[in-house]
């Protein structure tokens, strides 16, 4: 029953929006705004069978690689930068410098170092989605409760144990916020990275559709991106609700449910 309600809640708004889209474009003659009917009709033809293996799968693998790389570097760098004022003062301007450079401009530079293969794409994805993780980790680490920090110091809980039991756990709600942001940015960068020097991938396919004026196909690709984002965020929430059980429990308990 509970689950049924949640499913209804989750599906209600998308259903409304899709109906609006459906009826608004039903008689569309605009070349770039084909009827939703048409988009949905071709969707299964476009995104099943071969393309799943040749385009979608490689993209997801690159995404996984880039995201993992971003999480590891983001948290490591974030702990370093957030926990040390001097390091933060030195690195922040440099990091901000790179953060402001658009990926399409950065890709050629990355290509100089990482070539044009999958490594480049993984690096591009990581370079884009590291920022929300990094920023949130920095802020989370800076905001670790002072009484807890004193507790650790007085019990001489230092080094790795402190990192593990105090810093990372204390910052984990905010790190999770960053990781969630990074997930969708990763998908965006997956597409962008495949606009350069690619010969397969979801982004590549969408760009090809765009250039080939296969507009319904392009829209179906955009729909697929949204679906992937949705599924990944559900998975993320599942993992998060376990890892941050204490945090959600704490909030719920104090709210008095």
């Amino acid at each position: 029953m509970r689950i049924a309600i949640r499913v209804v809640l989750a599906v209600a708004l998308p259903a409304v929006l899709f109906s609006v889209w459906w009826f608004a474009t039903a008689n569309s003659t605009n070349f770039y705004m084909p009827p939703l009917r048409e988009i949905l009709r071709i969707f299964p033809d476009v995104w099943t069978g071969d393309r799943l293996r040749t385009d979608v799968l490689p993209s997801l693998l690159r995404l996984a690689g880039g995201y993992t790389l971003a999480v590891v570097t983001g948290i490591a760098l974030g702990v370093l930068v957030g926990g040390n004022r001097a390091v933060r003062a030195v690195l922040e301007p440099v990091l901000e410098f790179f953060r402001a450079i658009p990926p399409p401009v950065l890709v050629p530079v990355i290509m100089l170092f990482a070539g044009i293969g999958d490594t480049m794409k993984v690096v591009v994805i990581a370079a884009g989605c590291v920022w929300p993780i990094l920023l949130n980790t920095v802020e989370g680490v800076r905001a670790v409760d002072s009484v807890l920090a004193d507790t650790c110091r007085s019990y001489r809980i230092t080094g790795l144990a402190r990192l593990r039991h105090l810093v990372l756990r204390g910052a984990s709600p905010q790190i999770a916020a960053g990781m969630r942001q990074a997930l969708s940015i990763g998908i965006i960068l997956m597409v962008i990275s495949e606009m350069f020097a690619a010969s397969n991938g979801l982004g590549f396919a969408i760009v090809q559709f765009q250039r080939g004026f296969a507009i319904p196909d392009m829209w179906s690709g955009i729909l697929l991106l949204g679906l992937i984002g949705l599924v990944l965020s559900l998975l993320f929430r599942l993992v998060e609700s376990r890892a941050l059980a204490w945090y959600h429990g704490l909030r719920r308990a104090q709210r008095g449910s």
Partner: protein
Amino acid sequence: MLLEVRGLRKVYQGKERQVEAIRDLTFGVDAGDLVCLVGPSGCGKTTLLKCIAGLLTPTSGEALLDGRRVSGPPPGMAVVFQEYGRSLFPWMSVRDNVELPLRQKKLPRATRRSLVDDALSAVGLGDTHDAYPWQLSGGMQQRVAIARAVAYQPDVLLMDEPFAAVDAQTRADLEDLIRDLWHKLAVTILFVTHDIDEAVYLGQRVIVLSSSPTVVREDVDIDLPDARDQLHTRSDSRFTELRSHIYAQIQAAKRESTPGSTDAARDTDLAKQVLQ
């Protein structure tokens, strides 16, 4: 002398507000002593404890432990914080909270286990091992913090109003627990409280602090017999004498705000104040 505080001064330096919390404190604690600190609210007891624990740097003067100047948290010292609620890790169960410092000490698992079990049941929380701290009442949380310090088996134990949130009966039990522990482990204890009866009941000495900016107002020797119990000790006439004396001292301390004070809980004869 195990612990020495020499000419300690602490000024909190804010943007607009500068608070001289402690002006000049000098006293010593011998190894194995149980010394209670009392003083008016806001007089700097917590500040002093944090300086001794190496968590705050004094503005001038110093705290010495075993002759060495305290510059960071010294080994073998445990602190029970006044803000007990915030000193427990919300992401760990009660048992993990108590066990964490022991792991840091690299004790074997079995020893840790029995230390944790004993400490938790000693504070009356034998059956809440798996709860998170935020599932406990205020008094229970405070007892977890005490259990953590007790299980750690420190050489020096600093406690900042550790029984503030528990009921009278539990409090009496915990007082006896502390004296028991002190006897058994020969630990040196510095105990901050605002309960004068408690200070007299527990301590060998009671140090009375003045209002902020703080100096030592008096250092009272508690010449009660070592074997104390809640019923007899408290009805002892010497007990009553001592507590009256200290009470008078604190009242006086509050009245005569030290001159030059920039910030202090001043004497306000509340009962006479007209509200609105």
